[in-house]
Homo-oligomer: 138 residues x 2
């Protein structure tokens, strides 16, 4: 059974569900940062996905990347499956800018998160729901 | 026309060619680290690839990830498209270990590279050529 890792749950806001993946917004106002988590039990590596689920993941990652570039046309995307700290398979999709807090280095482990103010978070969640054709509350 | 970025060329050793991507071994003995570079001009983001080329990339990334886990069954893979410094699209595939120099942080920008001794590099290149069914000198 799929259970979201409690650290991922605690650090993020729910955007919604794609056919394979849960879409989360990292609650860090320093970088627009979505995380895809396949809703499967016991997956750690992308290679743990079946061929079919891997294809689904690739399709959903592409949709999320395109959505981020729609919202942030000037961003450089960073897409990464790391999992050195939280082992549950989750794939980061981050919009980077040459004036962001960690540029040009990677964001992970660099600066403590700065939570969004709730209205800002809500607006961003709605924007990504629209871009990804995710129904509210899905 | 495809030209490999000179920084990527200078930091890596050639493993060989897959149908879409050039496979490079980062010349850093601290981490087993392969890089896939689609042999296309002017691609920066994964979303710049056509649907067909994106599918090819996904297939090749999976093959490389599986090859790395064959060679290093105890590794945690880090797979990442960053490109904040070198903009030419290139995707890192790194085998991580909980006793490596940067664990559990990301490797990028952490420690200066420690080049392989040539025999060790050659053996690793051959091992990945075998795993990926790449002919020598391809």
């Amino acid at each position: 059974m799929f259970n979201l890792d409690p650290r991922l749950a605690g650090d993020t806001l729910l955007v919604g569900e794609l056919p394979l993946c849960r879409v989360l917004l990292m609650n860090d106002a320093q970088y627009p940062w979505l995380i895809l988590v396949p809703r499967l039990a016991d997956v750690v590596e992308l290679t743990d996905l079946s061929d079919t689920d891997y294809q689904r993941y690739c399709t959903e990652s592409r949709a999320v990347a395109k959505a981020m570039l729609e919202v942030y046309p000037d961003a450089k995307l960073n897409i990464a499956a790391l999992g050195n700290v939280v082992s549950q398979l989750h794939i980061h999709h981050v919009a980077r800018f040459n004036n962001d807090a960690a540029w040009p280095g990677p964001i992970w482990g660099k600066h403590p998160a700065i939570p969004y103010d709730p209205e800002q978070a809500n607006a961003l969640v709605k924007q990504f729901q629209t871009q990804l054709s995710i129904k509210e509350g899905s």
